[in-house]
Amino acid sequence: MAENSSAETPSTEPQARKVTYCGVCTLPPEYCEFGGTAKKCKEWLENEYPDMHERLYSEVIISHILILHRTAAVAATLSTLSIDAQKRAQKDSAKKEAKAAQQEKRAAEDKAAAKVLIKRVERNKRKYVTAVSGLEAHGLDLKKVAKEWGKKFATGSSVTKTASGSEEVVVQGDNSDEIYDWVADVGNVPEDNIELIEDKKKKGG
């Protein structure tokens, strides 16, 4: 009995193959070289699945050498052509990698600079709405956040377009302090990047 439960009972039908996917670029590891984050993927694989890393990356080198040898033996013109193509591919992938790295860097910088503005807008005497902008730069989904706040504060909460074309979350009532805490805790935004603003709406509405 115990044996049966520990060892999986061999079923009559073939089981699904379990494929390992790269933790960095989510592709099967053999395709990492095309993902643009090849270096990181390689490190990840080396840590997580050393045997697979060995197999994949030594194989790549061997196959490269093989290609070189074979083509050299067959015809000189063909070999230069394939080497050219290979070089081009290599250059291409290097370029892609650099681009991806740069993009990532820029995204990180953007994130560091991006501020979340929590505006308390006076709607009527003693009635306020809270408008929060800049959340999307910190990887929060506006729609989901709006829904969450609506539930949390038991008020209306929606995503609205501002005059400048961007989108913000508008919550009924003055919830600026709670929202401040929420953004810092749940939203994982550093407190330096959150700003509370008081805003008076134009009179005569």
């Binding site: 039908e13 193959r17 494929v19 670029c25 989510t26 592709l27 099967p28 053999e30 395709y31 591919a89």
Partner: protein, 181 residues
């Protein structure tokens, strides 16, 4: 087809009768999958239907995408399903040079299949236009693209020119990166 990152729309449960219909449809399109269908879509399971942009519907089970379908085109498996059951689909191969283009979402062109590294079925097992094929790559174990043929394999060999698959699902595209919650 999924070149841009996509976000899933409304998620709804599939009626059990509709689910049965999907099952039979899948088995019909992929006869080789018949022995495994209980493993992919167990009889007593609840499929979800997600609406994706461009009138694509995605069938998922326990937040795992399984199949997608564009309007009334054939049901096409998600690449993770292809990876789990690679032998159950019609497969052709592309050469090494074509991989990077495929993975950046380009249309698959005939020369990538007819060249030395490519692989097409023998003349006794030609694939017809409109059939769903899985594309494997030279020197790689896993498939990198799945889609509908725009040209029969015989025509590909004869012409050696033109688009073969133009709206498939490839590794790292929006559908691949899609997470359902």
């Amino acid at each position: 087809m999924f070149k841009k990152d996509i976000s899933a729309g409304a998620k709804s449960k599939v009626k059990s009768s509709a689910q049965r219909a999907i099952r039979t449809k899948v088995v019909e399109t992929y006869p080789l999958l018949a022995p495994h269908i209980d493993e992919i879509i167990p009889k007593k399971s609840q499929l979800d239907l997600l609406k994706l942009p461009d009138r694509v519907s995605l069938y998922a089970l326990d937040n795992e995408p399984l199949f997608w379908q564009h309007m009334d085109d054939p049901i096409i498996p998600h690449l993770r399903v292809v990876h789990a059951f690679p032998t159950c689909f019609s497969r052709i191969g592309i050469d090494r040079g074509a991989i990077r283009f495929v993975l950046s979402g380009a249309t698959l062109m005939a020369p990538g299949l007819t060249s030395k590294g490519g692989r097409l079925p023998e003349s006794d097992a030609e694939l017809q236009e409109g059939e769903v094929v899985v594309i494997e790559a030279e020197g790689k174990e896993e498939a990198c693209l799945v889609g509908q043929l725009k040209m029969g394999t015989k025509e590909i060999k004869e012409k050696n020119k033109g688009a073969v698959i133009d709206s498939g699902h490839y590794l790292g595209d929006g559908l691949w990166k899609l997470t359902i919650d």
